[in-house]
């Protein structure tokens, strides 16, 4: 029974769930570890986790030392006689990233379903932080509409295709609609110009464009916020969106239905692609939200 798979599993569950980095308090190399670990020496460390708890775990860093910062990772520990594969949390050296200055060439992205308040947020942000951030215009093939507020650059389908073929467009999408055919995208030149001006490009975007940006510039170059409407259930959130879309009175009921359909997909996307978001924020009180965004965006805190 000693150290049977269930014991190991129970023992490690708590720490694995937390999966915290820590600091090496001490470590030792066991020349002859218990037989189940095989004949090779095994380094075991006493690690103080970020939350103050201490754990004993294998240490896989090449040259461990006391005081070293380590990070957890799962690995196969051993296979029992019954064929059970037992996994364990081992601690490895945390990569040493020398931060000499704030990473300046990054994008700030807000993603959320229509009606969640993206435009309002970015307007407020642009107003409060215009010295630090600038909105990236969206290139679109659709016709201008009443209610557009300078966020679009209008072009023809032919021109859009030409830019696309020249690699000038870093992300694009064809937003499905039953009423019109329209392309949207971001031009590299617009983003570069904002960076060159020493500001943070802000994109108010949707799922495909976000993926395109993350693909083009790298996920780490995008500080990504997911915006959720208030409400605990999907139904409550959608009804909140519907209310907002109707109350702004910009669009026909057919458009609103289209947007709501897309919104449903967008909300599902938050769950499916958590990796694309650094922060999920609920747009309930605008002033609170802008304040909390300022805290989370490097370079904006002084704004």
């Amino acid at each position: 029974m000693n150290n049977s798979a269930p014991i190991v599993q129970r023992a490690q569950k708590r720490e694995r769930d937390k999966f915290l980095p820590g600091t090496v308090v001490s470590f030792t190399t066991l020349s002859h570890p218990p037989a189940r670990f095989g004949p090779r020496p095994r380094v075991v460390g006493l690690i103080e986790l970020e939350n103050g708890r201490r754990v004993l775990a294998p240490l896989v860093a090449d040259a461990p030392y006391i005081g070293q910062t380590v990070r957890p990772r799962m690995r196969l520990s051993h296979v029992t006689h019954e064929g059970l594969r037992v996994y364990e949390v081992a601690y490895d050296e945390a990569p040493q990233v020398a931060i000499t200055e704030a990473f300046s060439r990054y994008l700030l992205a807000f993603t959320g379903p229509s009606g969640v308040g993206k435009s309002t947020i970015t307007k407020m942000l642009a107003h409060a932080c215009s010295d630090y951030a600038a909105k990236v215009p969206i290139l679109t093939t659709r016709a201008p509409k009443a209610g557009d507020d300078g966020e679009y650059l209008y072009t023809t389908s032919a021109e859009f295709d030409r830019l696309k073929n020249m690699g000038e467009i870093v992300a694009m999408t064809d937003i499905p609609s039953s009423s019109e055919d329209r392309m949207y995208g971001y031009r590299a030149a617009d983003i570069e110009a904002i960076w060159d001006a020493g500001k943070i490009p802000v994109v108010v975007t949707e799922m495909e464009l976000l993926q395109g940006l993350a693909h083009h510039y790298g996920r780490r170059a995008v500080l990504s916020f997911g915006l959720l409407p208030p409400g605990k259930s999907k139904r409550a959130r959608l009804s909140q969106l519907l209310h907002r879309l109707r109350s702004r009175g910009r669009e026909s009921e057919a458009h609103i239905r289209d947007r709501l359909k897309n919104a449903e997909k967008d909300l599902a996307f938050f769950g499916e692609r958590k990796d694309l978001f650094d922060h999920m924020v609920v747009n309930e009180d605008l002033s609170d939200l802008v304040a909390s965004l300022k805290e989370k965006v490097p370079g904006l805190s002084g704004a």
Partner: protein, 374 residues
Amino acid sequence: MQQDIFLVGSGLTRFGEWWDKSLRDLMREAIEAALASSGLQAQDVDLVIVANMLAEVTNNQAHMASLASSLLPHHPPALRVEAACGSGALAVNTACAFLESNRAKTVLVVGVEKMTDASSDAISQALMGAADSELDAPSGLTFPGIFGLIAKRYMYEFGLTREQLSIVSSVHHKHATENAFAQFRYELSPEAVSASPLVSDPLRLLDCSPISDGAAACILSTVHRSGTRLAASQIASDTLSITERPTIVSFPATRAAMEQALREADITRKDIHALETHDCFSIAAVINMEDLGFTKEGEGIRIYEDLHAGRTPLWVNMGGGLKACGHPVAATGIKQLIDVSKSLTRGRARYGLAHNFGGAGATCGIHILENTHV
């Protein structure tokens, strides 16, 4: 102590690797020797307390209390206590509770362990039962590993060197040459310790107490008297896992038990001349000297340097300690009591102390003996 309790008899087997002796044989040998030395009849014993940690695992034997009682003709009531390597001290402490409360007048305490029948991997795993099975063991840690962690941290904090640490085992081996019951009765140079194979960095093979068979028995009584009186019997506990402690370079249970014991005996450290401490690993011997308050934090090795140079009036582990005398886990705490009483008699000193702990200092028992002839 609420009653005067005397150590009226004691008996030991030689510690070592005894292929031809069973758990029962070892226990019988120690009990018979204890009875013989006391001059009492077996029937004078009205309670038996057995200290044992591993019999179920290594000998397939539970119900140790009844096994011990079987060895006496009148089969007195018996019970078993277990606190890993601290079982011996816990058994003596339990005996004191019975004696002080008049539930018993004469108690036979016997500690026994038969470890060499099992493979070293099985023993190593069984001994890890003395640590936390969910917080410590799954990492693959063994007891040498736990003390390896402690040693590495201690060296980091206090600058103890490998060469200094090697003195500890050398001193213990020297003392064991005089002890007929010791497992290793030969001298060992510090250089030999430093050159022995690594077990759990920075600890080497000769830093570690061995796997041993052996038994130790003593008879404690409130109605029969002798020249050796128990002046204090105290136990203290700490968290089982070292992960739940703020420091690993000190054992708070030792500190607590020591303060309580000095208070109970109504003496100071300066009154103590003979010490048997729990040197399961050489680093533990160093830390013990600090926790017992005989030196400052980080300076425990100085006492061993003095012992090595023959400079200190303190007698430490004169029987060879766990390292050289051997460490049949639960017998150790009782053997220590016997060794302290021998030191007091031989050296005509008044007070001596036995310090025994289980796990990584999770249970600590301290007994102070008084030589009433001084």
